[in-house]
């Protein structure tokens, strides 16, 4: 029997909230599936659309960008820019025909370890039935 498909998710986590929230999930030993590879960035506002495209192009089955809740940004307003920029990215990707589940954004605060772990559970659950992401992936 073939092994069950395990999606690989690249998660861009802002240092101050979402990465700290993921750390809290760790400290609290809240188990979640190992399908997510975290890349810590300073702020969700620093996540360029190019990062999202690049992750998809290099074969990510899903991409997550997570930042502080509105009003909580360590840098005051970076997450508001992220929200606007990535809303456009999401619309564009779906318009081209990428499954909406493959690019997601979330607000996870430093206290939301539970939310982070649940989020990863949910993402993996949603991505599994879709199978590998081949649309944007490089072929060689």
């Amino acid at each position: 029997m073939a092994a069950e498909f395990e999606p690989r998710i690249v998660a861009f986590l802002c240092k101050w909230c979402s990465s700290a929230g993921a750390d809290l999930a760790g400290v609290s030993r809240m188990e979640y599936p190992p399908n997510v590879i975290p890349i810590q960035v300073m702020c969700s506002g620093s996540v360029s659309p190019l990062y999202v495209f690049s992750a998809l192009s290099h074969g990510a089955d899903g991409v997550l960008v997570s930042g502080c809740h509105p009003g909580d940004c360590h840098y005051i307003k970076g997450n508001y820019y992220a929200r606007r920029r990535l809303a456009l990215v999401k619309k564009l990707l779906e318009y081209i025909g990428l499954e909406p589940q493959r690019f997601q954004m979330s607000w996870v605060s430093a206290t939301e370890g539970v939310k982070f772990s649940q989020l990863i559970y949910d993402l993996v659950k949603e991505l599994k039935p879709l199978g590998p992401q081949t649309k944007f992936r490089r072929n060689y």
Binding site: Y81, R84, K91, I96, G97, Q104, S106, K135
Partner: protein, 343 residues
């Protein structure tokens, strides 16, 4: 009606007074009906100028060349460059002003009103003429085009052969100009997003198969980028065919240059390139339609840009090119920007 004589007169005035360095308008290609950008440097050359429904080109793009020339030259002539602009073109000037790429007095603008028409789509014209070859394509009386075929004159209702972008144009009148020719005639605004609605309604996989077909034939000749008034970067992040490297560029800087897209023309790279272009044009594209027109394999690039235009409007209430003082789309936000997609 825009008077060609008046246009010539204005250009002649601007050139002979020395107000402009040179003037860019349109001229016929050979003896045919198609036109190309014309660089008019002498007052006596104004007779080359034409104004016809085939004046598709957005001449604003040539300001990039002028800016680069100025940067190269030691003592550049900094007089403004004269341009003929349509409504859409004028909005691209506003975006360049907004992004401080040019200053207002770098350009002397002769705006022309599209009145009840606009520019034509050649494919639609050919279909309409059913194999006949046009000799001349001219503006007719209100809301029509006059096409001369076999020395006969045919009148065609504008919507029959108008370019899609003109059918979906939000403003057929220049929004910034030094001189305006023609009348400001309110046109019945059609559905501004007509051309994308069919694609929005498609099922996801259907859409993917459509776009896959389009992108897989891209040759990456970069005509879309080269003709775009907004693509003025010296080095394109997506896939550069020009590197902004000088003698001062350090080895580290060169090593840190990121290659997001490989040169191979495979689907993955073509998609990446077009995605980057679409997202970078969001809030900047004025829908002059040039990218789509020049594409040798006719990839419907407008459909991408139009989608971004629509989302900018619907999500953020953002309109492109009407106000050079507004902050760029992605350099501002509202507290209540939609976030229902965020978990």
């Amino acid at each position: 009606m825009v008077s060609l004589d008046q246009l010539k007169e204005e250009v002649k005035k601007a050139l002979s007074s020395g107000k402009v360095k040179y003037f860019i308008g349109y001229e016929n290609i050979g003896s045919g009906w198609q036109v190309r950008p014309a660089f008019i440097r002498q007052p006596e050359d104004v007779d080359r100028l034409v104004w016809t429904p085939a004046c598709f080109h957005n001449l604003v793009r040539f300001l990039h060349d002028e800016k680069r020339r100025r940067a190269r030259e030691k003592n550049p002539d900094i007089r403004p460059v004269g341009l003929v602009v349509k409504g859409c073109d004028s909005r691209s000037i506003n975006v360049l002003l907004q992004e401080k790429y040019i200053e207002r007095n770098d350009v002397y603008i002769i705006g022309v009103s599209c009145e009840l028409t606009g520019v034509i789509n050649i494919t639609k014209l050919n279909q309409h003429l059913n194999g006949l070859k046009p000799q001349k394509v001219l503006f007719g009386s209100k809301g029509t085009f006059k096409v001369i075929v076999d020395d006969r004159e045919i009148e065609i209702e504008a919507p029959d052969i108008l370019a899609d972008r003109c059918l979906e144009c939000p403003a057929n009148f220049p929004v910034i100009a030094d001189v305006i020719l023609g009348e400001e005639i309110k046109r019945n605004p059609g559905n501004r997003y007509q051309s994308i609605s069919a694609y929005e309604k498609m099922a996801l996989d259907e859409r993917w198969s459509f776009w896959q077909q389009q992108f897989s034939r891209c040759l990456r000749c970069y005509a879309c980028r080269s003709v775009c008034p907004m693509c003025y970067c010296d080095e394109c992040v997506a896939d550069s065919i020009a590197y902004a490297v000088t003698a001062e560029t350090t080895a580290d800087e060169k090593a840190q240059k990121t290659r997001w897209v490989e040169r191979n023309p495979e689907l993955s790279e073509n998609i990446f390139y077009h995605l980057v272009r679409a997202i970078h044009l969001a809030g900047r594209c004025v829908d002059c339609g040039e990218c789509e027109r020049v594409c040798p394999v006719e990839i419907p690039l407008r459909l991408l840009n139009k989608k971004m235009e629509k989302e900018a409007k619907e999500l953020f209430g953002y309109e492109v090119g009407f106000d050079p003082a507004q902050p760029p789309l992605i350099a501002c936000f509202r507290d209540n920007d939609p976030q229902d997609f965020i978990r």
